[in-house]
Point group: C2
Chain length 352, copies 2
């Protein structure tokens, strides 16, 4: 069930559909994968989760590889994504993180001293299990493997706030009250992230997604100051590897024009703005997204109609179908099947 579906145009079938679309090719059908496609909506994942903690699943190569594979046995997704969490590299910096189920930081970063106490680990120290998982996966996978990391601004959001929040008041205050400490924190996270992501690519990751889930909290000035320079450095550090780079921020429509400047192949859009309105804002890039994950709780008829709406809005250039954010644990399996079928059956070639 995990092989690629050949392009109906018959052209360049050696390069998988996902990688072609991610490299800017306006493919005749949209590849599809889902954020958190390995996750709690799958009974086989929940069964493993009863036996192991989240960290055990992430840190045991055979288990993480098995979880990564689970959705590919059910659905003809066009890409796999490493089973992990954006918080994974932070343990090696000296931070203890628990999941309940969102991340909880035992000792939040609140001062210049707290920032100074964080280490920048060597590449091989960061998460030694991750390259092992990637190698295991590449030996078996028939679709491309996406590696990923968190953008510094979003990692800092959790480190300072200490836990998930609706608008991260402590972090936003930290940026205003302690801008120098904030820059030092973002610098350490940037260096660690570059090492972590290049390690993933060297182990075999064929694309990298940079998750900046909380960038949308900020206005342009603040994003320009505390987000953009660090994102740019990470993306530039990955450039020599020639793997497609994907950037996602959520609730960040007001920042799309700035994202259009990034050296990135793919911008992933959440569910708030239709793709035909996002495209002119971000320039000549592949778009990824943007079905509202809540739709997978509706009926198959609604799923098909809404997916086709996204597919039509994506026709103006290269498009990788995805949700606007991670799949909900309550998503219905039959709706995911309908979704994959709808995307696979939608011919883009007439307008491509």
């Amino acid at each position: 069930m995990s092989e690629t579906t050949p392009s109906s145009s018959g052209a360049s079938t050696e390069t998988p559909l996902f990688l072609r679309a991610a490299s800017g090719e306006n493919t005749s059908r949209a590849p599809i994968w889902l954020m958190r496609q390995a996750g709690r909506y799958l009974p086989e994942y929940r069964a493993l989760k009863e036996k192991y903690t989240f960290w055990e699943l992430c840190r045991t190569p055979e288990l993480a590889a098995e979880v990564t594979f689970q959705p590919l046995r059910r659905f003809a997704f066009d890409a796999a994504i490493l089973f992990s969490d954006i918080m994974t590299p932070l343990s090696a910096m000296g931070t203890e993180i628990e999941f309940a189920p969102g991340p909880i930081i035992q000792h939040p970063v609140r001062s210049a001293n707290d920032v100074a106490a964080l280490r920048i680990p060597d590449a091989e120290e960061i998460a030694p299990f991750v390259p092992k998982i990637i190698k295991l996966l590449r030996s078996e996978l028939k679709v491309p493997l996406i590696g990923f990391g968190g953008a510094p601004l979003t990692l800092a959001t959790y480190l300072v706030e200490g836990k998930g929040s609706k608008d991260y008041p402590l972090f936003r205050q930290f940026l205003r009250a302690e801008p120098e400490a904030a820059h030092q924190l973002l610098e350490k996270l940037t260096q660690t992230t570059i090492r972590y992501l290049t390690t993933q690519i060297e182990a075999g990751a064929q694309a990298i997604q940079l998750f900046d889930s909380w960038a949308g909290l900020h206005n342009e000035d603040m994003y320009q100051t505390f987000g953009v320079p660090y994102i740019q450095r990470i993306l530039e550090a990955l450039a020599p590897y020639k793997v497609p780079r994907i950037y996602i921020a959520v609730g960040a429509g007001h920042l799309y024009p700035l994202m259009g400047q990034f050296p990135v192949e793919v911008i992933s859009a959440d569910w708030r703005i239709p793709l035909d309105r996002v495209r002119p804002l971000v320039g000549d890039k592949t778009l990824q997204g943007n079905l509202d994950p809540a739709i997978l709780l509706a009926t198959p008829e609604v799923v098909k109609a809404e997916a086709e709406k996204v597919l039509r809005a994506g026709l103006g250039g290269p498009h990788i179908f995805n949700l606007g954010h991670g799949i909900f644990p309550q998503a219905k399996i039959e709706n995911v099947a309908t979704l994959v079928e709808t995307v696979h059956n939608f011919e883009r070639s007439q307008s491509a």
Copy 2:
């Protein structure tokens, strides 16, 4: 400390500055008030909060009036806002709400049966203490009094989710899976809200702010379906009273063009998009906002510079200065003083 500062133009000084700006006059200085100006950043509020629960403060007319007055004794704000919560009218519908400190719904609404069990209370049942508070305040206040309520979509967000959340997955799923029950719930909330807000105006509220804190979760289609019709009905029901109507949604920049259609005098913008970019999207209305509340944790110099940035961006039409969202409990008193002084000293008349 709570009297209005006369307009430097000397024109129409009988109508308070806030009401003139809220009615569309491009005043020569911007009136200022702050969302949650009566709240935890004030030591005198925290002292009361040690003796009384939040509901006790809201439901005891003398206490609620005292809390409403507290910030006006310190700062020359141009308006007062009723001390209350958007959840206040929901108790009379048959829902138990606690604060911890955000709202917790004892029995979340999850089905058509749960919706059917909610009552539409008579106007005088909804929150009988509220008109008493308003009358107490009007007999003492030297600045206009703003009443308020929650928009149905936002009230429904809490009722279904049961508590605060970063992206309200259960509510978004409810809208997709149970659209008819959702409309019935929104209908009941709309009728209750109309009764509640007209009661406030009849008791003496001189302006009404409709808080739609969570509207920005939705894309245009969903907001058009589940938000707009109910907001329109509430705003139209208030029209005969001729008090300025203010609408605020947070994180909802993608919905501004739809808000531009509302029969509303004022659109309140959060901190994400500068006012000079918001104004062309919402048409010929007064803008309110949009300083990032986190700035009140920085230094007075930063507060002054950032406030002046907002003031300059607001020059293209009528502007009521405010934060983009509620003031943080950690805001520094001296920064609030600097903010009020900066706004009062900023002459808009050269370009008005």
